[in-house]
Amino acid sequence: MNHDEDSSITNTFNVGDILEGVPHGIALLDCGLRIVAMNRFLEGLTGFSSSDARGIYGGSIFRSNLGDRGQVFLKVLDTGEAVSIEGDIINRDRRKVAIQFTISPLRNQVEQIVGLIVVLEDISAFNSVMNTSLFHEHSTTGILGHSLKMQEVFELMPLMARTDASILITGETGTGKDLIAEAIHKASKRGRHPFIKINCGALPETLLESELFGHVRGSFTGAIKDKPGMFKLAQDGTIFLTEIGDMPLPLQVKLLSFLDDREFYPIGGDKKIQVDVRIIAATHRSLRDQVEQGNFREDLFYRLNVLHMHLPPLRERDGDIRFLLDHFLRELSARLNKKISGFTIRSLEQLTAYSYPGNIRELRNIVEYCANICQDDRIRSEHLPKYLLSTPLPPAKEGQDEQAAKTERSVINGSDPSRIGKDWMSFEKEMVINALIKTHGNRSKAAKELGWGRTTLWRKLNIHGLV
């Protein structure tokens, strides 16, 4: 570390105060492009703590795609001119985040360049909104929908963004819970602070506790240094606990205690840490049922369920299926450089009659499949995935003029509970689950049982959201 350069930056101002006052990730680099200081926002964005990052080459901490190593930084040092570039980083949560980088030279009092100031603005939410054609209609959400049920959701969102109360978002898989949570955060007064997502079902209990609340050095084998935990990193922002219904009971107690006092002890720590974060939780399960079965604490349920938003499944969103089919077809045709103008009446009947247990995620995948297979100018029945063709159609049609009415009928038919679970996807999912139960979770044996390779089973588990 070049201590002369380092001190010339840090002695002039109280650098920590300046950095914490900026509502984006921000780092100071010396002329050797090593990190001198970074703010808490950047800690949350990258997953690296300031103490770990200090003295390390900045590029190794940002892990961006800004071309050959350090060239952009060196250019700013050489020319003295600030640059602003769009790119992405991969953080320690293994998530790729779209970033707007602004790199400016840092000069001392005699106008000599002593380092760089790098600002990283998370533009992932902005990008996801811009990628939708309905940008002007629901510019704060990135969620598409014209149905009455979705209009209710859109009306509720600004109200939820205005308050600071905990929110519980429920809805089936693929209904857009994550997008809604992030949109509410961005629209709230905490929008310029971190939004940190934790999947409560993805980690074992001890690891999850450490991820959420952090630990102190020496608290358990392998705890070789202090770890701040997501609650601390989300200071002034929002923490999004997805699949909250899968959170282990002992951790539920600790979360409840935090919600009561807004403070917690890190694992092995003897000093309470106070943080100011908003909690948004989401689950595809019925938490009331979970409470009745004794799998979820009732007091925590009431604590989280201050504000409740239920996202309707696609089969209950009248008219949205047709709307989304057209939207995704337009998007995917353009991406695949194809000139597909739409769907034939017959294929539309099949598509609108389907119940979409995987909701929008599944619908998009189906359209992507069709767009890839189709070599004509319109999607025909033979371009649809085979399992859709087994879906029974509504009664014989009277004529094309009544198509709209029939589409509505078929959507309603799609919501018939007796038909849900009888499509191929549901059957396949059931088959996979049964094989896993039979083999006590041994995936190699389950794959053998199903007559598949392990990679095929891996792909199927991903498709059905079982990973």
Binding site: G59, S60, R69, I90, R92, D93
Partner: protein, 142 residues
């Protein structure tokens, strides 16, 4: 994963890697750039493969130059080479999960000179997130 393109291989010697202690045979792949662990798995254009037999590195470590940076092709290479442990910088969740699924030990978010990092890996003391401060040589950057 798509089929990976033809890879150009070059023999590469790293004297600092020859001697270190280990416990059993292990094939290690490190994504590298200059003398450092590459910052990102998906952008790595060079990898080093070393086999550790319990006491030392067997033969010379090999470096493979990828025809183009690609996470998919790198995954294919890792499977094809029957690698036991992958050491890398930032890696996206889906590639991480895929490799774990294939029973490959992935040590990610590793920062530093790959020489001492390989030594640590050989001694089974390397963990994800290990940072070894750089000693910059010849103005080369990680």
């Amino acid at each position: 994963m798509g089929a990976h393109n033809a890879l150009a291989e070059t023999e590469y010697s790293r004297s600092c890697l020859i001697q270190f202690k280990g416990y059993c045979s292990m094939k290690i792949l490190v994504t590298i750039h200059n003398n450092f662990v590459a910052q990102r798995f998906d952008l790595a254009s060079e990898v080093l493969i070393a086999v550790h037999d319990g006491n030392r590195i067997v033969d010379e470590p090999r470096t493979i130059i990828m025809s183009r940076p690609s996470a998919e092709e790198l995954c294919n290479l890792i499977i094809k080479e029957d690698v036991d442990t992958v050491i890398c910088g930032g890696i996206e969740e889906r590639y991480y999960k895929f490799l774990i699924w294939k029973k490959i030990n992935v040590l990610d978010s590793v920062i530093g000179d790959y020489g001492p990092i390989l030594e640590l890996a050989g001694c089974r003391r390397l963990t994800s997130g290990t940072i070894i401060p750089f000693s910059l040589e010849n103005g080369k950057m990680p």
